[in-house]
Amino acid sequence: MLTLMHFQIVSAALFSVGLYGVLARRSAVLILMSIELMLNAVNLNLIAIASFTDPERFTGFIIAIFVITVGAAEVGLALAIVLRMFRNRGTVNIDEIELMKW
């Protein structure tokens, strides 16, 4: 029988894969893709919990819709920043964007 735990484990695996991508990648676009993976893992977790435990209140579903909204806004804004970074510095390698690095 399919239980909540199985979905939670899949979502934990997806989140860990996204965390690896954020930590190991050097290109800003690839880091953004990994962040999308992590957002989707969170969404999967929210919807699984809402679908298994929450029969008449829709909190999990509605928060998942808001997460999708904020994710879309974040991608648009972050890609605009990446484009501007590329135009100013000629690279999307975040190791070379060290202006604000300590």
Partner: protein, 161 residues
Amino acid sequence: MTWFLFILLSVMVIGGGLGVVTTRNVVHACLFLLFSLLAVAGLYVVLLAEFLAVVQIFIYGGAIIIVLLFAIMLTRSEEYPSISDNSQWPLAVVAGLALFSLLTATFVVNSRSFEVMHRVALTDLGRNLFTDWALPFEIASIVLLLALIGSIVIAKVERRR
């Protein structure tokens, strides 16, 4: 049948995610991401959340992948293969595995037997969204508007006079 779909879609989700974080070709990474996100939409269908599956396909499959591909095309693509991974990737593997084992242990230890999935009627969801959650909904639309205007302002090319 549900088990089979769940296993298949989970393998697709995790496999697509691993493809995103391991491939050196950035366009392939984008297509792996699309694959993974569509499999997540399939998992939403298994969870009886069909509306969110449709939203997932529209927004991620339709909008976000296109925007990512545009950004890849507008930035120089020759440097991507040489800058895919940094030198800290073994540390990142350790961090990912540690987080995964921690979360999995927590979920297994604290698993309660929720076995019944509830189907949410779309009309109830919409009524709830526009009554109890009306204010957050409007704030979310303002956030989207501001993000779009902000990204236009940031990405705009200034013309020298």
